[in-house]
Symmetry: C2
Subunit: 283 residues, 2 copies
């Protein structure tokens, strides 16, 4: 029987991680929980985030039967991975470590840039994970990128030139800061689950030769390796595009705002989310 993988985010941005998982482990069942009633985690204390994340993880494991957990939320991965691992008896994977490892594999100079939300940057989780791997990392908060993605002003929109200018401004500032710190960055990590939808625009703007690492993609790749180890022979190579069959294996839950989740989620998941079930975790 196909195993169930639980995917957790504070919102629906983590559907980009689920999308990457679906292309790599299409035979699994997926339960995705967006704790939309209590987002954004970024402005909350570590203790509060740990409590919310542990409750969410327990819902996925105890009530949805998840045998693996992927924490597709940068803030929860940064501040609550230990608390989640203590709260549930299944393997738990966050997004920070795989992103840093992919940057380590990609970078020749050892200097990397990270763009993320304000909360993720303030946690300095990427800088710490990169440093532990011998990289020097410079992080920058880009608060306009999430609302630009949610407005749909991505590369296939006539409004994308605004988004291009905003990305350009943020990258210019970051590259100037890097030069001032005598860094020679050759790798840019997308440290937010919304940013994969901006990847084509970002790749068209970064300096020639700079590699763009998507944490969602890196996390899915690591999950697939973990999954293959534990289920030898179970993992057939997945399709590169999502079909109806893969998407039928996804069951989405949210703690609030299911309408917005259903309306915007399909752009992140790459196929319709189906009906999103409202759950009450208290609080």
């Amino acid at each position: 029987m196909a195993p169930t993988i639980g995917v957790f985010d504070s919102g629906f941005g983590g559907l980009t991680v689920l999308r990457a998982l679906l292309t790599r482990i299409p035979q699994a069942h997926y339960a995705f929980l967006g704790d939309t009633a209590r987002l954004p985690y970024g402005s909350k204390s570590r203790r509060t985030i740990a409590k919310y994340a542990a409750e969410s993880a327990q819902f996925l494991v105890n009530q949805q039967g998840a045998e693996y957990l992927v924490i597709a939320c940068n803030t929860a991965s940064a501040l609550a991975l230990d608390a989640i691992q203590e709260a549930v008896p299944v393997p738990v994977l966050g997004v920070i470590q795989p992103g840093a490892q992919a940057a380590r594999a990609a970078s020749r100079t050892g200097d990397v840039l990270v763009i993320a939300t304000d909360a993720t940057v303030q946690s300095h989780a990427y800088a710490a994970a990169c440093q532990a791997l011998g990289l020097r990392a410079l992080e920058k908060a880009c608060p306009l990128l999430v609302p630009l993605v949610e407005e749909g002003w991505t590369e296939d929109s006539p409004r994308h030139s605004v988004t291009e200018q905003v990305i350009g401004i943020y990258l210019d500032e970051l590259l100037m800061d890097a030069a001032a710190a005598y860094l020679q960055p050759d790798t840019l990590v997308l440290g937010c689950t919304h940013y994969p939808l901006l990847r084509p625009l970002i790749e068209s703007i970064v300096p020639v030769g700079m590699k763009v690492i998507d944490s969602a993609e890196a996390t899915a790749a690591q999950a697939a390796r973990l999954f293959d180890q534990e289920n030898p022979g179970a993992g057939a190579p997945g399709p590169s595009h999502l079909g109806t069959r893969e998407c039928a294996n996804v069951h989405c839950f949210a703690t609030d705002s299911v309408e917005k989740f259903e309306r915007l989620g399909s752009r992140f998941l790459g196929c319709p989310t189906g009906k999103v079930e409202l759950v009450d975790l208290g609080g």
Copy 2:
């Protein structure tokens, strides 16, 4: 003894309403609460918003001695004014009704435009309040404007051209929708507490002759009338600019992120917020 006016917002944007109140009722004491731990209210359900707003109102009345409440949060005004009025025994004024009344006074054609956050627009509270006054109102959500204000990309920033383009795109779409609905709008209501900081840019972009109504300003004017009625002779004419003396009458509270509140708040208030006190409302 000078009375205490409680001002409540989900964040610190409502400091623009407090600023307008200070210039009109400078002799009052003010207790401002930003429920920053639980923002954004906009993505939450009516039931959740009503619970949070009632708890916040009770803090201002029961613990800070507020004798009047101004709800400087469009979402709470739209979805929870009844719940707040039931929760506390003092007069409560929201921002929606004053904004609609100011539009009624300004408009000759009877057709008005409203820009606001997604949550405020989805509540259709402005449209309903305008309709009750015999106006036809067309609302538009402008989700990028709040983060642009918080980034500081306003008219005195070198980045303001991005903000100008975004405002232009939103206004063009809104004017096209108005034309398609055979409306002849001559008034634009700023239905979000962050938007007063964009007023110079917005006024430079709207069609010639279109009046711009600021809900924060309209609410303060109505509060001053209410206050003068209940305290005849107490209300001396206020200064048009804020001095140290007026700002000393302000005490700010937040449920989280006091550092960000202190850092960004002064731009909204027009003078330093002073030390922001952290309070725990639970949840």
